[in-house]
C-alpha cells in the first residue's frame, strides 16, 4: 500500500501539451478510476506515473518518495495493458516470473509468488501454456498475474477490459473488485467505460482536455456533477438539459417548465441550464408538467420513455408495465430536490 501524489505535472508529447499543471493525490489502498473520453490524457497520465512517458515539469511521488526521474522498474508498480502485452514466446509461468528473474529473486520465492498469483486468478492449470493457446479472458488474467507477482505498492490498469466481450468484461470486473478487497493495494485504473468507473472506484477522476473536471466518490460525481461535461458523460441515458432562467426567488422557468429546484447557494436571477436524470422524471397523472411521448424503449426490467416538453427532450425510467404510445400527452413530475443547475455561460454547477 502506498500513496501516489502528482504535483503541478505537465506532459508535452510531440510539442503538444497533453497534461497541464495537474495535481492529484491518491490515498493508500484507494481504487482510483481515471475516466474520460478518448484523447483526454488519462492514459498519458497513467503512463507518466508508470515512468513510460517523461513529464515536462512537476513531480511524481509514490509511497512518499520522489520517483519523477526513476525507471519504470524502480517505481514499485505493476501494470496491466489493454492489449495484454504478454510475451508471445514464453509460457504463462515465464511471463509472470520474467520480472522477478531479471531482479534475481531466489527460485523458491519466485515459485511461491507465481503459485499464489496463479491460485488467485485460477491459472494453475494453464502455467505451461503459451499466450496463443489462451482465450482473451485468460490472457488478461495472466497479465494481471504478472503485475501481482511483482507485489507492487501500486497497480496501474490501462483499460484492461476493453478488448473483452461484454459478458467476460462484467465477470473480470467483479474479479478485479474482489482482488482489490483481498489485496487492499492502491490501484489506479483508466477507462472510458462509466459502468466500470461506477462499480469499481472508491473515487472517480473525470478528465477532459488534459485537465481534471471533478474528483469524488462515484455517487458524488453522479449525483452532484461539477459541470455540464461531467453531467453529460456519466449516466445512460444521459442527463437531459433544459435551457431556461432563474428568477430572484430561485424558481427555474423555461418553455413548458416551472419548478423550484433545491440548491446550496442562492444566486441572483440569471439564465441557467437545468439538468435532469431519467430516474428523476416520473410519469404520473398528478404531475405538474406536460410532455408528449416521442419514443418508447423497452429494456426488459424497465422501459425508457422519451418525452418532449417545450424544446427539451427528457428520458424517463418507467418500472411498471404501463403502456405509452408515441404522440400521447402525459403528465409528469420532476424530483426538484435532485436536479442539477448549471450556469448557462460557464457550464459550472450553480
Amino acid at each position: 500500500m502506498a500513496n501516489v501524489s502528482l504535483r503541478k505535472l505537465n506532459i508535452v508529447l510531440g510539442g503538444k501539451p497533453i497534461i497541464r499543471d495537474l495535481d492529484l493525490h491518491v490515498e493508500p489502498g484507494e481504487f482510483l478510476v481515471l475516466l474520460g473520453p478518448s484523447g483526454c490524457g488519462k492514459s498519458t497520465l497513467l503512463h507518466s506515473i508508470a515512468g513510460l512517458v517523461d513529464s515536462a515539469s512537476g513531480a511524481i511521488e509514490i509511497g512518499g518518495r520522489d520517483m519523477t526521474d526513476f525507471d519504470p522498474s524502480e517505481r514499485g508498480i505493476g501494470m496491466v495493458f489493454q492489449s495484454y502485452a504478454l510475451y508471445p514466446t514464453m509460457t504463462v509461468e515465464d511471463n509472470m516470473s520474467f520480472g522477478l528473474r531479471i531482479a534475481g529473486t531466489p527460485k523458491a520465492e519466485i515459485r511461491r509468488r507465481v503459485d499464489r498469483a496463479a491460485a488467485m486468478l485460477q491459472l494453475d492449470a494453464l502455467l505451461r501454456r503459451k499466450p496463443a493457446q489462451l482465450s482473451g479472458g485468460q490472457r488478461q488474467r495472466v497479465a494481471i498475474g504478472r503485475a501481482l507477482v511483482r507485489e507492487a505498492q501500486v497497480f496501474l490498469f490501462d483499460e484492461p477490459l476493453s478488448n473483452l466481450d461484454a459478458k467476460l468484461r462484467a465477470e473480470l470486473r467483479r474479479e478485479l473488485k474482489l482482488l482489490h478487497q483481498t489485496l487492499g493495494s492502491t490501484m489506479i485504473y483508466v477507462t472510458h467505460d462509466q459502468v466500470e468507473a461506477m462499480t469499481l472506484a472508491s473515487r472517480i477522476v473525470v478528465m477532459q482536455g488534459g485537465a481534471i473536471q471533478q474528483i469524488g466518490t462515484p455517487l458524488d460525481v453522479y449525483e452532484r456533477p461539477a459541470n455540464r461535461f461531467v453531467a453529460g458523460f456519466l449516466g445512460a441515458p444521459a442527463m437531459a438539459f433544459v435551457d431556461g432562467a432563474l428568477d430572484a426567488a430561485g424558481r427555474f422557468a423555461a418553455d413548458g417548465f416551472d419548478l423550484m429546484p433545491a440548491r446550496d447557494a442562492c444566486p441572483a436571477a440569471q439564465p441557467a441550464v437545468l439538468g435532469v436524470r431519467p430516474e428523476h422524471v416520473e410519469i404520473r397523472a398528478d404531475g405538474a408538467l406536460q410532455g408528449d411521448v416521442t419514443l418508447v424503449e423497452p429494456m426488459g426490467n424497465h422501459q425508457v420513455v422519451w418525452l418532449r416538453c417545450g424544446r427539451a427532450l427528457l428520458a424517463s425510467l418507467v418500472h411498471d408495465a404501463r403502456r405509452f404510445a408515441p404522440g400521447e400527452r402525459v403528465a409528469f413530475a420532476v424530483d426538484a430536490a435532485r436536479v442539477s443547475l448549471f450556469d448557462a455561460q460557464s457550464g459550472n454547477r450553480l
Partner: protein, 311 residues
C-alpha cells in the same frame, strides 16, 4: 416419432444424378477457353525456364565426343559422371587444378559469418529504431536507406583504400566486413518494419518488468522474430553466395568464393572448352541458393506477409 421417417433421405438414384450433374458442371468450368489459354501459357512459361536447366543437366552427363556431334536436346547415349567428378575436384580454377571444391568451402566460410552478423546487426538496429527511438532516429534511418541505393561499384575503390589502411585487405574478415556493410540497410529495414508491427505495449511491459536494452532484445524481441530472421537469412545467403565482384576484389587469393572460381573455369582462354564440365560446375554452384528456395519457400512467403511489406 423418429425424425428419419419425417424427412426421408434422398432416393439414391436422385443423389447420384445430382452428383453427376455437379461433376459435369465442374468439368465444363474447368475447360473454358480462358482456362485452356491459362494452362498453355503456364506450361509455356515453365518450359521456357526449365529448358536451359534440362540442357545443362543432359550436357553435363555426356562425353565431349558426344557433345561435338551436336543435338543439344538429345539424351546422353553413354551416361557419364566423369564431368561432375572433374568439376568438383579436378578442373583448373586458375593456377590450381583442384576443382570448384575449394571455392565451395571458401564460399561457405564467407557466407556463414556474412549471414549471421548482418542479421544480428540489422535486428539490433531495427529494434533500437522501433522501440528506443533515439534522438535523430528517423534521420539516421533515412541515411541508411539512401545507402541502399548507392551502387556497390561506386564504393569499391574507397573501400579498398580503407581496408588496406586497416591492414585487412584481401582476407576473410575484409570480405565479411564488406558484406556486413552492404547488407545492413536492407537487414535494418526488414527488422524495423517487423518490429513496427509489434505492439508498443509489449515493450513497455518488459520495461516495467525491469528489462534493459539487451535483455528485452535477446529474451523478448529476438525469439519472436523467427519469420523475419528466415527471410533475412534467405536474402543474405542468396546475395552473398551469388556475389562475384566483392569476392573477387576483397576476399584475397586464398578465399576466392565459388562464383569467382566458376568464372575462372568457364572463361578459361587455354585448352579446349569442356562444356560438360562447365555445365556440372555451374549446377554445383547454383545448388545452394536453389536448395534454399526449395526448402524455405513457405517461410519466405510467410515472412514477407508478416512484416517485410507492411509498415
Amino acid at each position: 416419432m423418429n425424425p428419419r421417417t419425417i424427412v426421408p433421405p434422398l432416393p439414391p438414384t436422385t443423389a447420384a444424378a445430382h452428383r453427376r450433374e455437379a461433376a459435369a458442371r465442374r468439368a465444363r468450368r474447368r475447360f473454358t477457353p480462358a482456362r485452356i489459354g491459362l494452362y498453355v501459357f503456364l506450361l509455356g512459361a515453365a518450359l521456357f525456364f526449365l529448358l536451359p536447366l534440362y540442357v545443362m543437366i543432359v550436357t553435363s552427363l555426356k562425353s565431349m565426343d558426344e557433345i561435338r556431334q551436336g543435338g543439344i536436346f538429345a539424351l546422353p547415349h553413354a551416361l557419364t559422371v566423369e564431368p561432375w567428378r572433374l568439376a568438383w575436384s579436378g578442373v583448373c580454377t586458375g593456377a590450381a587444378c583442384a576443382g570448384v571444391r575449394t571455392g565451395f568451402w571458401n564460399s561457405v566460410a564467407i557466407t556463414v559469418p556474412s549471414t549471421i552478423l548482418p542479421i544480428l546487426l540489422g535486428a539490433v538496429n531495427g529494434y533500437a529504431l522501433s522501440f528506443w527511438r533515439p534522438r535523430g532516429a528517423n534521420v539516421l534511418f533515412g541515411i541508411l536507406m539512401a545507402g541502399a541505393f548507392v551502387p556497390v561499384q561506386v564504393m569499391i575503390y574507397p573501400l579498398v583504400r580503407v581496408l588496406a589502411l586497416a591492414g585487412i585487405f584481401g582476407s576473410l574478415p575484409a570480405i565479411v566486413l564488406v558484406h556486413l556493410v552492404f547488407g545492413m540497410p536492407v537487414m535494418t529495414l526488414l527488422f524495423r518494419n517487423y518490429y513496427c508491427n509489434v505492439p508498443h505495449e509489449l515493450f513497455q511491459a518488459a520495461r516495467i518488468d525491469g528489462g534493459g536494452f539487451w535483455r528485452i532484445f535477446a529474451q523478448v524481441m529476438l525469439p519472436m522474430s523467427l519469420p523475419v530472421i528466415v527471410v533475412a537469412a534467405i536474402m543474405q545467403v542468396t546475395g552473398v553466395w551469388n556475389d562475384y565482384i566483392l569476392g573477387l576484389v576483397f576476399a584475397g587469393r586464398d578465399n576466392m568464393p565459388m562464383m569467382v572460381q566458376l568464372n575462372n573455369v568457364i572463361n578459361t582462354t587455354t585448352g579446349t572448352r569442356q562444356y560438360n564440365v562447365n555445365m556440372a560446375a555451374t549446377i554445383l554452384t547454383a545448388l545452394v541458393p536453389l536448395a534454399l528456395y526449395f526448402f524455405s519457400g513457405r517461410w519466405f512467403v510467410r515472412g514477407i506477409a508478416a512484416g517485410a511489406v507492411k509498415g
